[in-house]
Symmetry: C2
Subunit: 284 residues, 2 copies
């Protein structure tokens, strides 16, 4: 994932992060190995960490312009995680500097009647980024495995079939120019409790609280099990998963901003030459 | 447009801007009255002007969160203007601080075959913001009057019919909760020449240059005439036009950011109370 152009300090950072990438095929990966409170990238102070995230966000904005001009690729960033894992916060922190002309975000909710009358990838396909665009998925097609598998509506065999279909779908996207990065925001049950409690207690946040969050929390172990299966089955060369320790918001932002920046830098983007005929043209 | 909550200095600012709003019905309005180099809002230094734009962009981001939580309105911002008038730059400067989850932008291009096989508002309607969302139009359905009217494909009577249809369409949107702000970015022919020349001369900008820009420039007077007709016919109580003097980029940004902020502040947005049942709930 590290780009050759980065200096040695940054190569070091990228290599520290590589152990959080789920190996293609999932061999040897367990979610239990991943400590939600880990901080694989650190700066001496909190202020320096925040400043680095801001710097990376500006760099991602500059790279977005180049990405658009270059026009060869589209970028899909998938964010998954338990309730309150920080998906919204990640979108805000990492892509806030990017012009709305270059980035779109979709928060996937339960499908509508019309959507439910199609295969589960139908609505997903419609929201794919065009060339030159970043698309951020807050939740994704992975919910179509997670939720029914935990709830018992999807048998293990049917879940395996969906995971294979997703791999095939993502491979097709990748072969046609969509760069895919998938992040599982990994928080601890204690940290989730703290964040949900804050939503209950703060009158300005109470509207965000949904009773279904508490239900899903009651199925914590089942969700972790299905997540592990899903991460192992769908981390591929063309669409790798990274587990992001997410108990600390600023360290979560730092990791994701670093990996997005590194990926963009590795694409060797360049400005198209423009029509050679207009060289030296004088506008009247 | 000025909100009652703003302090008296800001009320002053808003009232200085009111003369740039095209009166509903267009009575007495001419584009020739509008000086593209005017700076109706000013701060003592360029650095202070820029800082004010950044402050307004942050305020718009905070108001976006509240706008989403409130959930009663959608916001449509229409940006029109000649090539190089600064539509992209406005999106970037005014909405860069806003999370991609709260704002979307569409750059309208020539319609596809499928789009052309429908009425001209069909594709526009599909891209309307949902409640809680900001949508930014870089160009818009107004191009479906401008381009054919200048090119001669639309008779004056057919153009008047479209303008009436647009008023009816925008009224329906407004009556169903979409707040509409329309900005005509008004630059001088000299400033456009300077900006297009910069695209030709800068190797990193050359890819942006399109030969059709020069053709449209050759029809400058015709475009200005159709713009004047259009602004007079479609500035309404429910969807007013503001002519924005746009020869100076930072002053253009300052005007638009001020008017967007003022409009949002005038909506008396508030957080919904949340389910009273969850008050005092302890998360296990």
């Amino acid at each position: 994932m590290g780009s050759k152009e980065t200096d040695s300090g940054e190569r070091q950072a990228a290599s520290d992060l590589s152990r959080w990438q789920v190996p293609a095929g999932g061999k040897g990966f367990t979610l239990a190995q991943c400590d939600p409170s880990a901080q694989p990238l650190t700066y001496p102070t909190k202020a320096q960490t925040k400043a680095q995230v801001t710097e990376l966000a500006s760099e991602i904005d500059r790279l977005q312009n180049l990405f658009y001009a270059d026009g060869r690729f589209a970028l899909l960033v998938v964010l998954q995680g338990m309730d309150a894992a920080g998906k919204d916060g990640t979108v805000r922190a990492v892509f806030k500097e990017t012009s709305p002309l270059g980035v779109r975000a979709v928060s996937w909710k339960a499908p509508s009647d019309v959507e439910r009358a199609h295969d589960y990838l139908w609505r997903i396909h419609q929201q794919m980024p065009r060339k030159g665009e970043f698309m951020l998925f807050n939740r994704s097609h992975y919910e179509d495995v997670l939720v029914p598998a935990v709830g018992g509506a999807l048998s293990p065999a049917a879940a395996r079939q969906r995971l294979r279909q997703i791999n095939d779908f993502e491979r097709m996207l990748s072969e046609n120019g969509t760069v895919i990065l998938k992040f599982m925001l990994h928080i601890s049950a204690q940290e989730q409790r703290r964040r949900l409690q804050a939503r209950v207690d703060d009158p300005d946040k109470r509207w965000k609280f949904d009773a279904s969050d508490v239900r899903a929390r009651g199925q914590w172990a089942a969700y972790q099990r299905v997540y592990e299966t899903l991460l192992r089955a769908t981390s591929t060369r063309w669409a790798p998963w990274t587990v992001v320790p997410a108990d600390s918001k600023i360290h979560r932002n730092l990791i994701i901003a670093t990996l997005v920046r590194d990926k963009l830098a590795s694409l060797k983007l360049c400005y198209p030459p423009g029509d050679p005929e207009i060289r030296g043209l004088l506008i009247q």
